[in-house]
């Protein structure tokens, strides 16, 4: 059988994606979500984007191939093919339902109401022409984008992205504007942009774009301003970042502050794991162990119900065994000891074996805290409750805002320490060990010592995350320390780029912050999360914010060779 032409394949793929989105329920759920309130819903935007992408791809040269002869026609057909497929799907589903076969048994999202969304309320049989025309028009638009000049293309994509960001972030932005005392009703309504708001966002984007294009980029635009040097641009940038971080909790609501605190916890965990995985190259799948150790240590040391205070829980001590700030150094000591205990037996293992064993250690810690054996001390399945909040003078640290500052402080310290470690002798030794253990040993680097050091430092930073987690929730129980935490933290590190410190921050914001803020995406959170992860692994395998050296390791060597007169004829 001959292969179908590319535009047909692309179109069919687009149609299939829309059917898929329908079947998993995204189209129905996102029909409730306004983009431009009362005019465009997110469901429609999704369809639009798919059709445009189909047209865009159809009109573009495939990887390693030649560009299509008639890009416009191809784009049009691709969109139309996708539309026809969706239309056929709607008709088929309706016919099946009429004949007594209910697709809803399997796909609960395929309801008549959902199908009405696909046919734009034009009835089952009109859905085919409606979708076909829609697909064709949008495919054409996508095709136009791919043949347009890069300037036009990036301007249009930026305008679209700005609108989407504005609309999806509407709940957050309106809260922030309220915090700053700026009226936002004209811009946002019902979680979407108003028509005026859309015009405003697109207008601002276009103006900015026009100005920057004329000035030749941000750098040049800034260079043009008198008295601005690169150095004071940096200073100003950092000052702005500092001020934003400092005032952030007061312009967002407590929920967002709370989310920021959680992001901070993951940054702490990520920075710790980054030392183990990113610097030393030891794949640790049981990192949650240190999170648990931190949380339980603080719990046992500070909770009123802790066995250290006395078995008689009715006779509550005014405070726990000790103050949080005294408990923190002790917690670090405990984590370091456990780090050595875990690190020592796995030193001889490499790669996959190490990963499996650390995975086991993570589970061992969880099973231990869950066990009856340690129940008198660690509370078994109930865990330890009534952990007091962090004492910070007159402030109430149950307030997410205060907690935010505390966590921010520890993140900054860990950030600084991480940076110093990376560029110090020890960081270089880790890098050498990661590349070639044998040769590193031959250079006098004691692999055993440096592996233990990596585990210990990772443990020390990670336990801080656990400590704040316990103080924040006032409970430590085994349910919070599952394998999923290890995986999430690892995902944060990998997504940001292994070994990259800013990468950990970006990774936490994307993987922990975004899903919390986009709660309405509800059951699709993990779904979208998965799509993002796959997309990043395909398009940016070195991570969002890669460490320069790591990026090289992944991209492989691009050999820079110039003619070498003295060493001409070099082999290899």
């Amino acid at each position: 059988m001959r292969r179908l032409p590319r535009y047909v394949r692309v179109g069919l793929l687009g149609g299939f994606i829309i059917i898929y989105l329908t079947a998993v329920g995204m189209i129905a759920a996102f029909h409730e979500r306004n983009i431009i309130t009362g005019v465009v819903q997110f469901s429609v935007v999704l369809m639009t984007l798919v059709y445009m992408a189909a047209g865009y791809l159809a009109a573009r040269a495939p990887k390693g191939g030649s560009p299509p002869l008639r890009p416009t026609r191809d784009a049009l057909i691709a969109g139309a093919v996708g539309g026809v497929l969706v239309g056929v799907f709607v008709i088929l589903m309706t016919v099946l339902a009429d004949a007594g076969y209910t697709p809803r048994d399997m796909f609960i999202a395929i309801t008549p109401a959902t199908l009405d969304i696909l046919s734009f309320d034009q009835g089952t049989y009109l859905s085919l022409p409606v979708q076909a025309v829609l697909g064709a028009v949008l495919g054409l638009a996508g095709g136009y984008l791919s043949t347009a000049t890069p300037n036009v293309r990036s301007t249009v994509t930026r305008a679209i992205s700005a609108t989407l960001i504005g609309a999806l972030g509407a709940p957050l932005f309106s809260v922030m504007m309220a915090g700053l005392g700026i009226p936002s009703r004209w811009l946002f309504r019902s979680e979407g942009l108003t028509i005026v708001g859309t015009v405003f966002v697109v207008g601002v984007t276009l103006l900015l774009r026009w100005y920057l294009l004329r000035a030749g980029g941000v750098r040049n635009a800034l260079d043009r301003v008198p008295g601005v040097t690169r150095k004071n641009v940096n200073v100003v940038t950092w000052a702005v970042v500092g001020v934003v971080l400092a005032v952030l909790p007061w312009i967002v609501n407590t929920f967002v502050s709370d989310v920021l605190g959680t992001v901070g916890l993951y940054i702490l965990l990520g920075l710790g794991l980054n030392i183990v995985v990113g610097y030393a190259g030891l794949l640790d799948l049981g990192y949650v162990a240190f999170y648990a150790v931190g949380a339980y240590s603080v719990a046992v040391l500070t909770a009123r119900s802790s066995f250290l205070v006395g078995a008689d829980v009715t006779n509550l001590a005014p405070d726990g065994f000790m103050n949080f700030w005294v408990a923190i150094p002790l917690t670090i000591v405990i984590a370091v000891i456990i780090g050595v205990l875990i690190g020592a037996p796995v030193l001889r293992l490499r790669g996959d074996y190490l990963a499996i064993v650390t995975l086991g250690f993570g589970e061992i810690i969880r099973t231990l805290v869950l066990s009856d054996w340690l129940k008198p001390y660690l509370g078994g399945p109930q865990g330890i409750t009534e952990i007091p909040s962090v004492p910070v003078g007159p402030f109430n640290a149950r307030d997410p805002r205060i907690l935010y500052y505390l966590i921010l402080g520890f993140v900054l310290v860990s950030y600084f320490v991480s940076t110093r470690l990376k560029y110090a002798r020890i960081g270089r030794a880790w890098a050498a060990m990661r590349e070639d253990e044998d040769v590193a040993e031959g250079m006098g680097i004691s692999v055993i010592k440096y592996k233990i050091l990596a585990f210990v430092m990772g443990a020390a930073v990670g336990c801080l995350g656990g400590a704040f987690f316990a103080a924040k929730l006032s409970v430590a129980n085994p349910g919070s320390f599952t394998l999923l935490v290890s995986i999430n933290v690892l995902a944060v590190v990998v997504l940001g780029g292994m070994g990259s410190i800013p990468g950990v921050v970006v990774g936490s914001l994307v993987l922990v912050g975004l899903p919390e803020l986009l709660r309405e995406f509800g059951e699709f959170r993990l779904h979208i999360y998965g799509i993002i992860l796959v997309a990043i692994m395909v398009f940016k395998p070195e991570g969002l914010f890669p460490d320069a050296r790591r990026a090289r390791e992944l991209r492989g060597e691009a050999t820079v060779k110039e003619p070498v007169p003295a060493l001409a004829g070099a082999a290899e």
């Binding site: 890098a431 590349e435 070639d436 031959g442 250079m443 006098g444 090289r552 004829g569 082999a571 290899e572």
Partner: protein, 244 residues
């Protein structure tokens, strides 16, 4: 014999169930260039790895400067003054040329002297100095070998172990590499060299040993060995004195 800087006596070592070295005795005197010849799988690399502690000694002794070093960990042995230029260079390909040299000096703390030695390596291999900031992996084969040698020299060793420095290099480069080895030897560094290219190795060595299936089967001065017809037999594994 007295006055040896490095000596192996009846060393047995190997991996797992296989005994690769079956009682090897070698002696290297200060300032000498000694080479170990042998065919594939004769135990040449294992000998070097055993000296450096990367393979455990099962019986026998390794003595360095009158002190037993078998049983010590590799970093401790390196600290005593033995370094190796590994087979196939094995540079830290993603690090810069300079970083590779710095790693070589990992055990030293005398910053000023380290800087001076880096300059010394750059003087010896001017091409490396031109490429100080370039990634080691992007160097040509010859340059990589130079860097591997420079990296080993950065530990300021008394004895330099070299594993097949000619491997994978074009003849003209091999010549250059061997010239540099002579230059290093001229500075008083003792060199213990493993090679397959017997003629070339013997041309710069003072003495040589020939190893066959884990045993030393011949040993002599370089000139004498060059003239010895048994040499090629040993290479082909046909020397009778070794029969099982």
């Amino acid at each position: 014999m007295n006055g040896s800087v490095l000596s192996l006596s009846n060393v047995v070592s190997g991996y797992g169930a296989s005994e690769v070295l079956q009682g090897v005795t070698i002696e290297v005197r200060p300032g000498e260039t000694v080479c170990l010849l042998g065919s594939n799988a004769a135990g040449k690399t294992t000998t070097l790895r055993t000296i450096l502690g990367l393979v455990r000694v099962r019986s026998g002794e390794v003595v360095f400067n009158g002190e037993r070093i078998d049983g010590l960990k590799t970093p401790a042995i390196v600290a005593k003054g033995i370094t190796m230029v590994p087979e196939n260079r094995r540079l830290f390909a993603k690090m810069s040329v300079r970083e590779n040299l710095e790693i070589g000096a990992n055990l030293r703390t005398d910053k000023a002297a380290i800087l001076k030695d880096i300059e010394g390596v750059f003087e010896m291999f001017p091409r490396l100095s031109e490429r100080a900031k370039q990634r080691a992996g992007t160097l040509s084969g010859g340059e990589q070998q130079m860097l591997a040698i420079g990296r080993a020299l950065m530990a300021d060793p008394a004895v330099l172990l070299m594993d097949e420095p000619s491997m994978g290099l074009a003849p003209i480069l091999v010549e250059q590499v061997f010239e540099k080895i002579q230059e290093i030897s001229g500075r008083g560094v003792t060199i213990f060299l493993v090679e397959q290219n017997a003629n070339l190795a013997l041309s710069i060595a003072d003495r040589a040993y020939v190893i066959q299936t884990g045993r030393i089967v011949l040993q002599d001065t370089a000139e004498a060995l060059l003239a010895n017809p048994d040499l090629s037999k040993a290479y082909l594994g046909e020397l009778d004195s070794v029969g099982e």
